[in-house]
Symmetry: C2
Subunit: 458 residues, 2 copies
C-alpha cells in the first residue's frame, strides 16, 4: 500500500514535481496505480499513466473503470492508443468496446493488428450477455500424447501470455476439446507419463452462445477457476475465468436489487453516476407507477357515494391496500431471487402457485385476525366505529385476507410470467406489485364492504 | 453427465438392484453423484452414498447441501461418521458444524482426531461471519531461500492435500507471511533460482477477524483465486479460496434481496424450505408492518371531520401515500446496494442527503406536476372535483411533492442510520420505508389540505 507515501497526500501532481514520485510509482502495484488514477483529477491521472512503463500501463488500464479508460483513450496519441489496445486481453478489450458507440468501436478496431482485429471482431459478434462476450482466447491448449514434462516446458514458454495456467486444456487435431486438467494434477504426477494416462476424458464446458446468467450458475456449482468455452461441435474457442464471472454476477445482483426497488439498473456506482442520469433512471418507473396509481383515484370515484355514507371505511383504506402491497413485495422478491439462482423455472408455476396460495391464505388470515381484534378492541372503549362495529370488523378482516391473497399471488406470478415471455423477472418490482394491488385492492375493499354493510351503513 | 443412463430414470433403487448401477456410479463424478443423492428419496441416496468408495464419499459429501449432509450423518454408524468428519476439508467441516446445535456440534467434534479437533475448535472460535470461519488450513507454505525446483518438489509431495496449488505462500521461521506467488510465476521461472529472486515482498492478505463482507470486496478487487489469512502480527493462519467467497457473496446478495422485499433471509432454497418455516420468515415482518400500518387508521381518525366535509380529498389519498412509498423503495434499494458494494459508507451521509434531497425535489415536482395536470384536465370536462378544483389541484401537487421528498430522504437515510448502529442496512426494506411514509404521508396530506382549503371546503 502507498500509505505514508507522498502520492497519497493532497499535493497537486504536476509535470514539474512528477519526478519526485517516480520511485514510488515504480514500486507500486498495478491496482494501487489504477486506484490512484481514479482518485485524482483527470490531468493528474494522465500524468501518472504516462509516467509508468508501457507494459505496466496495460495492466493498470485493465483495472480502471470504464469512465477513466475513456478519458485516457481520448487523451493519448493515436499510435499509443493502438499499442495499448493491441496489448489488452481480448476479454477486457471486448468489455471496453461493447461500452462504446458502434462508430467509435469500429474506429478503434481498425487500429488493431490483423490478428487481434480478427479476435475482437469475432468476440463482439457473439450476442450481448452471451458467454462469448466474456471469453478470452489466451489459454493453454495441449495434446493428450504429450508427456507432463512437455506440457510444463510448454507452459514455461507460453504461460506468460495466458490468462491463467491454473487449468490446461487438451484438444485433438481438429481443435475439439477432449479434457481439462487442473495444474495440480500435472504438478503431482510423474514427469514422464503422458497426459492420456491421467485423463478421464470428462470436462465441464460452457457453450459460447449460452447466457452469462447460466454461466454464473455453472461456475457456482463446479468451483472452477476457469471454464472452457466450446461451440456446438465442441471446438475449443476460449476460456472464461472466475474473476469475470464474479464481476458479472455482482453486476447482475446489483441490477436485480435496483429493479426490485423500482429503479432502472444504474450500471454505474451510486456516487459516480451523474445527477441527470440518476434522475432519468428513477423518473421513468416513478412516472409510470404514478400514472397507474392515478387509477386509484378513478377507482375511488366510483365509490364516492359509499365513502360519504360510511367515512369509517376510509379510515382503514390505507391499511388494507398496503397489506396487499407488502405481501406482494415479499412474494415477488422471493420468486425473483429463486429464478435468478435457477432454483425454480416457469415450469414450476403450478407448484409455486399452490404454495403461494396457501401462504397467502395463512398470512392473510393472520393479518385479518389482527385487524378484527383491533376493531373489536377499540369498539369496547369508544364509539369510534359506530353501532355496527362488528360488521365493520368483518369487512376489514375479510378484505385484508382477500387483498393479501391477491398480493401474494400476483407477486409470485408476475415474475414467472415475465420470465416465460423472456422479460426480466426483476421488472416485477416491489413498487409495481404494490401499485397493481392498490388499484384492485380498492375495488375489492368496497365490494366486500357493500356485501357486509349494504342496508346497514351503505 | 449421466443422461441415457439408468441412474437418471425413475426406477426405484433398492439394495437388490444396486449392483446394476455400480459401474455407472464408478464412472460418475462427485458432483454428479451428489446431485443424484439430493434428487432421490433419502433411503436411495443413502444406498448410493454407501456404495461409493470412502475417498469419493468425502468429496461427494462436501458437495451435498446441509439438509442432505445431516440426513446422511444421522444414518451412518459412529465409526463411519468419525472417519468422514476427519477427512473433510477444515472449511467445509466448519460450515457443517456451525449449522448444528452446539450440543451436536461438540459431540461430533469429540469424534475427531486430536489434530483435526484442534483445527476445528480453533476455526469455530472465530466470530460468526468472520474470515476465520471460511478458512482452510490446507495450504502450501514454503521458504524464500528455497529454489523453484525445491518448491515444485514440495508441491509434488504435499499438493494432493492442499485446497489449492494455484497460489503458494512464503513464510519466515516464525510463521509470518512474507510473500505470495501465483503458480504461474513459478512455472515460467528458471528452476534453479531461489524464490527470493522473484519475490516482491508484497502481498494482499485478509485479517482473520475481518468480516466476510469485506473479504468479498477484496476478492472482487484483486481477482485472486485464493487469499492468505493472517492475524494482527501477520502470522499465516490459513487461506480462503474464491469458491467459498462466491458462495458467501451469493448468499449475502440473496439475504439482501429477501430483506429488501420485506422477508427474513430464508437461508434455504425456496422450493426446499418447509412450509411452516416459509410462513414464519414472512409472518414476522408482515405482522410488524401491519401493526405499524394500523397507525394509519389512527392518523386518519384525526381527520374524520375533514374527510366527511371533503370526500374529494379521499379519492387521491392512495395515490399520494403510495408515491412516497415508491420513491422510498427506490432510494432505499439504491443505498442498500451501494453500502453492500462498499461504494458508500456512513461517513458520506451528508453528500448522500444532499443528492437525495435534490432527487426528491426533482422527482416530487415532476409527479406533482403530473398530478396537477390530471386534476385540471378532468375538471375541464366534468364537475367531479367541484368548483374549487384549482385549490384541490394545488393540494394534490404540493402533497405529492412533500411526500415524495419525505420518501426519498427516509429511504436513503434509514439504511445509513442502520449501518451506523451496526444493524443490517437491508432491514430498511421497501415495505418498511413505504409503511413509515404512509403514516406520515397521511398527516402531511391533510395538513396541506387544511392549509389550502381552510374556509373553502374545510
Amino acid at each position: 500500500m502507498l500509505t505514508n507515501h507522498k502520492l497519497d497526500d493532497d499535493t497537486e501532481l504536476t509535470s514539474e514535481n512528477l519526478a519526485e514520485y517516480l520511485p514510488q510509482l515504480h514500486s507500486a502495484s498495478a491496482i494501487e496505480i489504477s486506484d490512484l488514477i481514479m482518485s485524482r483529477p483527470h490531468a493528474e491521472g494522465l500524468l501518472i499513466f504516462n509516467a509508468i512503463s508501457e507494459e505496466k500501463a496495460v495492466v493498470v488500464f485493465e483495472y480502471l473503470h470504464f469512465k477513466s479508460q475513456m478519458e485516457i483513450l481520448y487523451s493519448l496519441s493515436q499510435p499509443r492508443v493502438a499499442k495499448l489496445l493491441n496489448a489488452l486481453s481480448p476479454d477486457d478489450r471486448t468489455t471496453l468496446l461493447e461500452g462504446l458507440s458502434s462508430d467509435l468501436s469500429s474506429q478503434l478496431i481498425q487500429t488493431l493488428s490483423p490478428q487481434e482485429r480478427e479476435i475482437s471482431t469475432r468476440l463482439l459478434s457473439y450476442p450481448k450477455d452471451s458467454v462469448g462476450r466474456l471469453m478470452t482466447t489466451d489459454y493453454i491448449a495441449v495434446k493428450l500424447d504429450w508427456s507432463i514434462q512437455k506440457v510444463l516446458d510448454y507452459i514455461r514458454e507460453k504461460g506468460h501470455d495466458s490468462e491463467t495456467v491454473n487449468v490446461i486444456y487438451a484438444i485433438d487435431d481438429k481443435g475439439l476439446l477432449i479434457d481439462d486438467f487442473r495444474i495440480r494434477q500435472l504438478l503431482i504426477s510423474p514427469l514422464q507419463i503422458k497426459l492420456e494416462e491421467i485423463s478421464d476424458h470428462k470436462f465441464i464446458a460452457l457453450k459460447v452462445l449460452e447466457s452469462q446468467e447460466d454461466a454464473i450458475r455453472i461456475f457456482r456449482k463446479y468451483d472452477r477457476t476457469a471454464l472452457p468455452v466450446v461451440d456446438s461441435k465442441n471446438t475449443l474457442l476460449g476460456i472464461v475465468t472466475f474473476d469475470d464471472i464474479m464481476a458479472v454476477s455482482t453486476e447482475e445482483d446489483t441490477d436485480d436489487i435496483q429493479k426490485i426497488g423500482g429503479v432502472e439498473a444504474l450500471r454505474y456506482p451510486y456516487m459516480e453516476i451523474s445527477f441527470p442520469a440518476l434522475i432519468q433512471k428513477r423518473a421513468g418507473w416513478l412516472v409510470l407507477l404514478f400514472c397507474v396509481q392515478l387509477l386509484t383515484a378513478t377507482a375511488m370515484s366510483y365509490f364516492e357515494d359509499e365513502i360519504s355514507k360510511a367515512v369509517v371505511l376510509v379510515l382503514f383504506l390505507p391499511l388494507i391496500i398496503s397489506s396487499g402491497g407488502n405481501a406482494g413485495s415479499q412474494a415477488s422478491s422471493l420468486i425473483v431471487r429463486a429464478l435468478a439462482l435457477g432454483e425454480i423455472s416457469w415450469e414450476d408455476w403450478w407448484r409455486i402457485s399452490k404454495r403461494e396460495l396457501l401462504s397467502g391464505l395463512v398470512l392473510g388470515s393472520l393479518l385479518g385476525l389482527i385487524g378484527f381484534i383491533r376493531v373489536v378492541a377499540w369498539s369496547m372503549f369508544s364509539n369510534i366505529y359506530g353501532p355496527h362495529w362488528l360488521l365493520v370488523a368483518l369487512t376489514i378482516s375479510f378484505s385484508v385476507l382477500s387483498v393479501v391473497l391477491l398480493g401474494t399471488l400476483s407477486g409470485a406470478l408476475m415474475p414467472l410470467v415475465l420470465r416465460r415471455f423472456k422479460f426480466d423477472p426483476a421488472t416485477a418490482s416491489a413498487p409495481l406489485v404494490a401499485t397493481c394491488v392498490d388499484v384492485t385492492g380498492i375495488v375489492i375493499y368496497f365490494n366486500v364492504a357493500m356485501w357486509f354493510l349494504q342496508g346497514v351503513l351503505l
